[in-house]
Amino acid sequence: MHNASPKITVEQVNAAVRRHLKKPGFKVAIVAQDAEALRNTLLSGKPTPITYDTQGTPNDILAEDKIIEAFPLKDVKVKIVPVEQMFEK
């Protein structure tokens, strides 16, 4: 690693990212309460606006939030597991 890393170029890193970090999907694990409400939200496809507790968020951040809140979630499958069942068998 110490011998290889100084010679790696940005192009090599980007090429490796494009080769390996482009998968058709993700596995997602969420630990939360109100799981039913969270599942409904994930499956609804509706925008989920980001809110802040303070004022003064820059406009570029707010503009980016508009994109993020409506980013399409495709092919979503959700299952709920009570925590008592985790790691049981």
Binding site: M1, A4, S5, I8, Q12, V13, A15, A16, V17, R19, H20, L21, K23, P24, G25, F26, K27, V28, A29, I30, V31, A32, Q33, D34, A35, L38, R39, L42, Y52, D53, T54, Q55, G56, T57, P58, I61, L73, K74, D75, V76, K77, V78, K79, I80, V81, P82, V83, E84, M86, F87, E88, K89
Partner: protein, 346 residues
Amino acid sequence: MTRSSRSSTRSPGPSPRPASRKRRSSPARSIAITSPRTRASPPRCSPTLGSPPMTSERLRNEAIDFVSKTLRGGNDEELGKWTLQLELYKGQPYGHVDRGTVQSLKAITIDDVKEFYRTHYTKAALKLGVAGGADETVLPGLIQGLSSLPAEGSKPPELPSPEIPRGLDVTIVEKPADSTAISLGFPLDVTRRDDDFYALAIANSYLGEHRTFNGKLMQDLRGSCEAQLRRLLLYRGFRSGRDEHVPGSEQSAPPAGVHDLDPPGSRRSCDLRASGGSLGARPAHRARDPARRFRGNPLVPAQLQQTLGADPVEAIGLRHGRCVLRPRGSGHRICTTPPRKSRWSR
């Protein structure tokens, strides 16, 4: 089942034996270093690898408690990470918590442990690494002590290629929780042997490593917090590391709600507090004007932001759950806290 790493340094004690069983002959004693060796004294050794492993109900109960109580109830981050691993490698050797499951731990017997030990603790599976104060007199003893292990045993299982997820395959673990722990990912067909491993390690560091604040993703997430602070951090007018008066700023006291974490010569720390959507004024112990305590203090005017220049602050880390910022080129540090209702607000 994995052998606890602590067992190699534990002092030997009597192995638990059922009274009905015949005492088996003791195997040749092996040697393992249990304490640092100095030139003045030889290493203390104890029979470990060459002897049958110790098991007890205490160890079993500890493992069950870890899985059923600690993982499920005491550490949502680890719970989320293990849930992800189980989903990524379902039905495969990596698809379980390494401490075991509750039912398997309850069902395991002493014979299971002994059989595992007999088939897995073998010379073929052993890799010996020695570091520290060991010299040429230590190695022969170690090798002699380990010679009692069986030569061959079970081979490691084949690792199948994990399933590539499609879309978003979400598992929600429901439990009472104040916050939400999210883990996500997909398996990579890359090992340390691959040339791309190093490039991906750099990409991983750039995006953000665990518990660090210098990655791009964390900077983006924290960006809104930092941007707000840019409009407020005008205590004595920071610019290029020099304290100078900036028109519109207050040199005698910090702007409302802002306090210098480390003024020159001081190790004192203070907090920035925000109140209910606006920066309420928190009376500083150094404030000379009590009238500055009021809610809804206006943010710093835009022209002051321009005076400071671009990127006047940089996040330098996390301290006690707060983002620590520093005006570029300055030794001063300012600390933020999550916005909360100020006791001084009206």
